[in-house]
């Protein structure tokens, strides 16, 4: 397969939603149906032009990819196959439970998607209303059952915690019910109130209580405990999976492997360069390829080491000293001696012969450690 070129993770961004959720600050547009066809054609063109790069994983995210007809999504995976995506390769599509039914799920599975990431967010309707989700808990449960029936054997569900007014007991119920649905993979994200989003505004105006960060920390610890006892491996700060079901595509990000992101505001990382495509939909479909790039930076030297160390440490198994040294010629424990010894002293980090990894306390305070590892002059 070598002659078929460098293997990359392929991310495709579908920036459309039926409506925006109240907490979301991603690039996404509600409505905009008239753009769909042209946008799809641009994406297909870009996939065809990937060569000599060859996709080894596919991740179609959004937005809400499933606002699109299954046929569009099928064209994407077909194009990816033509560009070299193997039959056994991980191919994920994100789905909003309110936008899928048995037929669409079956079509998606038949077209070759073998991993479904379901934006459940919560198993409680009051939380879903607060977040402005367009589905109910019941719909999410149904979507999951339908996905199983359609033949999906690798399903992720997203859960959000740390909501305004959410108690620890309520979160426990939420999570326990989600586990009853037996997903292979679970991502638990702490709500972050992004300035300008309606939810953040409501908190700012005092219409909703400010989320308590200490309580969110308790929720995180509870999630670690419940998920571990349910047989899930905690493999990244916010991600858990049944053995063998860690997301291969996402692992590419955390291992500093190359990836290509197609679609508005999508990031790529190839040959030590990270670049982003424009977030402007109109420019994206009108402008020639070269002008779709809105931002680019070189990740080399101290910065490359920092990113590798930071992303490696976000993995629960930690950073392999040997692998890091093999790549950069320096032991990370020597490179970050000051930060690591401080963090170890604070009980945030464990350092042994082969690895450096966060403690539970450290996982919650990881940014404190990363900020101390930053090279002095980045970029």
């Amino acid at each position: 397969m070598k002659d078929q070129g460098q293997c990359v993770g392929l991310y495709i961004h579908i920036p459309f939603c039926r409506r925006r959720c109240l907490y979301c600050d991603f690039t996404s547009f509600s409505g905009h149906r008239r753009w769909w066809q042209r946008y799809l054609q641009v994406l297909l063109q870009e996939i065809r032009e990937l060569s000599p790069l060859r996709p080894c994983t596919l991740y179609v995210g959004g937005g809400t990819p499933t606002v699109w007809p299954a046929a569009y999504l099928e064209e994407l995976i077909k194009a990816a196959r033509a560009a070299g995506l193997g039959e056994g390769a991980e191919a994920t599509v994100e789905a909003n439970p309110g936008t899928v039914g048995p037929r669409k799920l079956a079509l998606l599975r038949q077209s070759g998607y073998n991993r479904l990431s379901l934006g459940v967010q919560s198993t409680k309707d009051e939380n879903l209303r607060l977040l402005g989700r367009l589905h109910t808990a019941q719909q999410a449960h149904c979507a999951l059952a339908q996905a199983r029936a359609a033949g999906f054997a690798n399903i992720n569900i997203d859960i959000i915690y740390g909501l305004p007014g959410q108690s620890l007991a309520a979160f426990r119920e939420d999570l326990e019910r989600a586990l009853e649905w037996e997903p292979e993979h679970l991502s638990a994200y702490c709500l972050s109130l992004e300035p300008g989003t309606p939810l953040a505004e409501m908190v700012r105006k005092g219409l909703l209580p400010e989320p308590d960060p200490d309580l969110a920390a308790d929720m995180y610890c509870l999630a670690e405990e419940l998920l571990a006892s349910a047989g899930y491996e905690h493999y990244e700060l916010s991600n858990w999976a049944r053995p063998g079901f860690a997301c291969r595509h996402n692992l590419l990000y955390w291992r500093c492997e190359p990836y290509v992101g197609l679609g508005v505001s999508a990031y790529s990382f190839i040959d030590g360069k990270r670049f982003a495509r424009t977030a402007d939909l109109a420019s994206y479909v009108r402008l020639p390829v070269a002008q779709r790039i809105a931002f680019s930076e070189s990740i080399d030297g101290a910065l490359a080491m920092f990113e590798a160390a930071m992303l490696g440490l976000r993995l629960v198994q930690g950073l392999s000293r040997e692998a890091f040294a093999a790549r950069f010629g320096v032991d990370p424990v020597a490179l970050y001696a000051e930060a690591f010894s401080w963090a170890a002293g604070e009980g945030l980090l464990e350092v042994d012969e082969s690895r450096v990894r966060f403690t539970q306390k450290g996982r919650l305070l990881s940014n404190e450690v990363f900020a101390r590892m930053l090279p002095d002059r980045a970029g």
């Binding site: 991310y11 994200y189 702490c190 972050s192 960060p213 200490d214 969110a216 920390a217 995180y220 700060l237 916010s238 996402n250 990000y253 955390w254 990836y259 992101g261 505001s265 999508a266 990031y267 790529s268 990382f269 990270r274 982003a276 931002f295 930076e297 920092f306 990113e307 930071m310 992303l311 976000r314 604070e346 996982r363 919650l364 305070l365 990881s366 940014n367 404190e368 990363f370 900020a371 101390r372 930053l374 980045a378």
Partner: protein, 601 residues
Amino acid sequence: MRCERERIRNFCIIAHVDHGKSTLADRLLERTGTISPREMTEQVLDSMPLEREKGVTIKASAVRMLYTAPDGKEYVLNLVDTPGHVDFSYEVSRALVACEGAILVVDASQGVEAQTIANLYKALDHHLVIVPVVNKIDLPNARPQEVAAELVDLFGFSPDEIIFASARDGRGVDEILDAIIKRIPPPRAPVEPTLRALVFDSHYDSFRGVVAYVRVFDGVLSRSEELLAMCSMASFEPMEVGTFTPAMSPVSELCAGQIGYVATGLKSVRECSVGDTITSARRPAREPLPGYQPAKPMVFAGIYPVRPEDYPLLRDSLEKLRLNDAAIVCEPESSQALGFGFRCGFLGLFHMEIVQERLEREYGVEIITTAPNVELEVLTRRGELVRTNSPAELPPEGEIEEIREPWALVTIVTPAEHVGSVMELLASRRGVSKNMEYLDPQRVMLTYEMPLSEVIIDLHDALKSRTRGYGSMDYSLLGYQPADLVRLDILVHEERVDALSMVVHRDDAYRRGAAVVEKLKELIPRQLFPVAVQAAIGKRVIARATVKALRKNVTAKCYGGDITRKRKLLERQKEGKKRLKQIGHVSVPQEAFLAILRTEE
């Protein structure tokens, strides 16, 4: 230049603030033709913009008028201006020593006020002849006869020496000029031939150096003679000698009895300070003139630049301000929390505000000022007497035998209906009542002794608000008395924050300490460990709060583009940490100290 002493009159105008002193001065300038009405901008004497804005005279200045009396003789009238605000009331003395007489101006509607009394007594102490004037008789609510009766009853003036005037419409101005000529004596005869001139004010001029305002008592001050400031021992060749007309107008010499200026070329007002005697360098006088106490700062505070890199700018700006204002004292000081700055002394809170404002407005330095305090005397257990003007430098409690604080004699005039409220205010400020006297059925004069620290903070404002603006006050320093004072320290994680230490009365310590601790608790960012914020007297903690440990600082999502965003976020966090001040192990943003100091004000 005439040297006939008999034709010279040196006088000043003393009044309570707003009783029309400046307007009367303007009228005199106009009537004597010193300034034509066309040239007259209102209130010529207040030459600093800030003075105009605040409506008070900050620096004394002087003006020379030529007046042809009805008898046909021409006289030289030197009017020495006096400052109007309470903070500068002691500075009135500088003007008084240069004069033989004073016009006492009292507002016909307001009557006698605290500063009227205080300034009158000062003038009498200097043996000045007083010309009482009831001003503003044109006002609809004027009650000139009652006010005149007050002057008669309180101070023993005879009714026929009181002049009724309106500086606004010019009524009575001729009578005042006549009284100046007839009642105020000419300058005394010289007692020795050698030059002795008293410096009663000065300002710094970048071309002429220190310009000393002088009253010549003996001999002749000549442009061509080398001079000597007797106290500082600085000698200089005068660059210019002149009089104020009111602009500075050069003359060849000033003779005994005259008032004018000498441009010394000296670089610092300290080399030719107020109260010094200028004499001939070649034939110096044996004795200086009896000077008077130079300006003594009463209020002290630390002044720091908000941005540490502004320290040199602050240093240079203070230096420039001090060229002109000998009353500001300052010494370099450093604080763990605020960095490098200065401990400065001021005449009062108002003076301090003016300096703060000038630093920010004229020099563009953004500054933060620590809580103002007075100078204390500390008697140590070893029997030493230490003076300190910085709470952080107070010896440890165990070494202190006794703390003494300065007390002031406060004179207050208030409408009778507010007297209860005012007495309550004074009692809450530890005031001790000494005397109470009805000026008339509606107005009361209160005399209190109280700690200076209670006076300087905002007694003047508090009095104004309790009397709907009608109360007035004046104060003078009495001396030191033992006090039950303690140093209240603020500790963050067991480390003392020097900039927040304050000396407070023991009874007040708990309330002040608890307030600062509560506020600081909200301002200190959470650290990885719990941080105790305490207020303590010596080793005894009197208030305490805890900043809970930070438990969570994590980015939930870190995929593709999140990596760049997250790194930028971390860079901002790191940049933010650089601006933090370290108090032991605890990182505190400077803004926290600023916020505390601002609320303390």
